[in-house]
């Protein structure tokens, strides 16, 4: 367990020193939401209707952008093979990577979600459910995203390959995350969707690191 903590601290420190594009993800979130506003038009009733969906889609895209470089540095300088040879299982390594990715990207998404909600003039009662759905949903995005990054590790011409693979797997999270927001806006109870999200989180927490470890093992061979 201590080893996972050390891995996470190392990755977060690297991110804070600017080795990954942490702060730029935050700017990308705001920029993408601005793009949506420019394309849809400033009609406020329309923006309120699509606001929840826009926040979630932009969160997805920002997560995918920051996943590209998750394993590349370790893969290229041979650190990944050292982790493979160490007594620590690759499953814990994958879990540590997912947690550090969430700490560097997911937390930013959670922080920026209320700001974007303000930009889209979402009603006040949306803020708490939005925050909750993001808190539960962003770890799922990090976990599944780590799997996608491991699958495409070392691919030539990878480009848009990883988003192509991950986005169909992200769709259930997207559906239930936005259902929470829309049910709040129409005055219904949203607890059941939060519970489904928690279920998805537990499922991905149990399975994704294991599948990521399988994929990493093949990347090393």
């Amino acid at each position: 367990m201590n080893r996972i903590g050390l891995l996470i601290i190392k990755d977060v420190k690297l991110a804070l020193q600017g080795a990954s594009d942490t702060g730029m993800t935050f700017v990308f979130l705001l920029l993408a939401c601005t793009l949506f506003q420019f394309s849809i038009g400033p009609d406020q009733t329309l923006l309120i209707k699509v606001g929840g969906g826009v926040i979630w889609v932009v969160a997805l895209l920002a997560t995918i952008l920051s996943l590209e470089r998750l394993f590349i540095t370790d893969f290229e300088d041979g650190t990944l093979e050292q982790y493979f040879l160490s007594p620590m299982s690759l499953v814990f390594f994958a879990l540590a990577k997912a947690i550090s990715h969430w700490l560097t990207t997911g937390l930013l998404v959670i922080i920026s979600a209320p700001i974007i909600a303000l930009l889209y003039s979402l009603p006040n009662e949306v803020f708490l459910p939005l925050f909750l759905s993001m808190v539960i949903g962003t770890p799922i995005l990090s976990l599944i995203g780590t799997l996608g990054a491991a699958l495409t590790l070392g691919a030539k011409r990878s480009g848009v390959l990883m988003p192509l693979i991950i986005l169909p797997l992200y769709i259930p999270v997207l559906i239930f995350g936005t259902l929470v927001i829309y049910n709040v806006m129409y005055g219904h109870n949203y607890n059941s969707f939060l519970i489904v999200l928690i279920g998805l989180l537990l499922l991905s927490l149990a399975l994704a690191p294991w599948a990521t470890a399988c994929a990493l093992r093949q990347a090393i061979e």
């Binding site: 799997l147 495409t152 691919a155 030539k156 169909p168 769709i171 399988c214 994929a215 990347a219 061979e221």
Partner: protein
């Protein structure tokens, strides 16, 4: 028997024997099915002649789902037993399944326009079939993305297994959500809700599609094994 066919040459010998029969049977079943479906079977009392799209749309849907299940099963075999032909079978089946999914979506749109009044609606089944199409495309892209084909096969096997959860969602989507696409008439826990005069051509077309799948699968596996041999020869020549 699975271990018997670990040797690709044995499998190729079997393919040589099977393939002429399969091609003949496929053509035969297609001819009979098309005749019965397009000409001999009755028109629907509500939909008229457009119901005949069903004889292409429904078998293609069945095959698209089964092909994905086959692909995932082969992927599991290649991951756990490292069976050499399993990975190649999965890689060969993916484009066929993607093709069937395209047929489902296009024939569905053509059927939907006169009956529902729209080319597309974002109901549960259509959306999950679209997701299935994206999963197929991801699988194809991933299996060809690496220089080492084995790595591509294993990575796409993992992807296929992760996406397997979509299949029950597609199957039961018409039961769970009461939206536009009609519920199941055949594969349910009751008697089929379709008249034999339409059921028989449907089954014949389904068998025709299945035989087509088998034929093209064997052809693709053959070509995949041949390209493996070519790659091996190239590597030898470089040495």
């Amino acid at each position: 028997m699975i271990n018997y066919f670990s040797n690709p040459n044995r499998f190729l010998k079997l393919t040589e024997k099977l393939l002429p029969w399969l091609v003949g049977l496929t053509i035969l079943f297609f001819l009979v099915g098309v005749y019965f479906g397009l000409l001999y079977s009755p028109a629907d009392y509500q939909q008229g002649e457009t119901v005949r799209i069903m004889y292409v749309h429904v078998p293609a849907a069945w095959l698209a789902l089964s092909c994905y299940a086959f692909m995932a099963a082969m992927g599991a075999l290649s991951l756990t037993y490292k069976h050499p032909l399993a990975g190649i079978a999965a890689r060969s089946a993916a484009p066929i399944g993607a093709g069937f999914t395209v047929i489902v979506i296009i024939t569905g749109s053509l059927w939907g326009k006169p009956i529902w009044g729209t080319w597309w609606v974002w109901d549960a089944r259509l959306s999950s079939v679209l997701v299935l199409f994206f999963l197929y495309l991801g699988h194809i892209a991933l299996s060809h993305a690496f220089e080492n084909p084995l790595r591509g096969i294993r990575a796409s096997a993992i992807l296929a297994l992760v996406g397997l959860v979509n299949i029950p969602i597609i199957k039961f989507s018409v039961d769970w959500w009461n939206t536009l696409h009609q519920p199941a008439s055949l594969t349910r826990f009751d008697a089929p809700a379709i008249d034999p005069s339409m059921l028989i051509p449907l089954i014949i077309m389904a068998l025709a599609f299945f035989l087509y799948f088998l034929t093209i699968l064997l052809v693709r596996i053959k070509s995949e094994l041949t390209s493996q041999k070519i790659r091996a020869i190239n590597i030898k020549m470089i040495k």
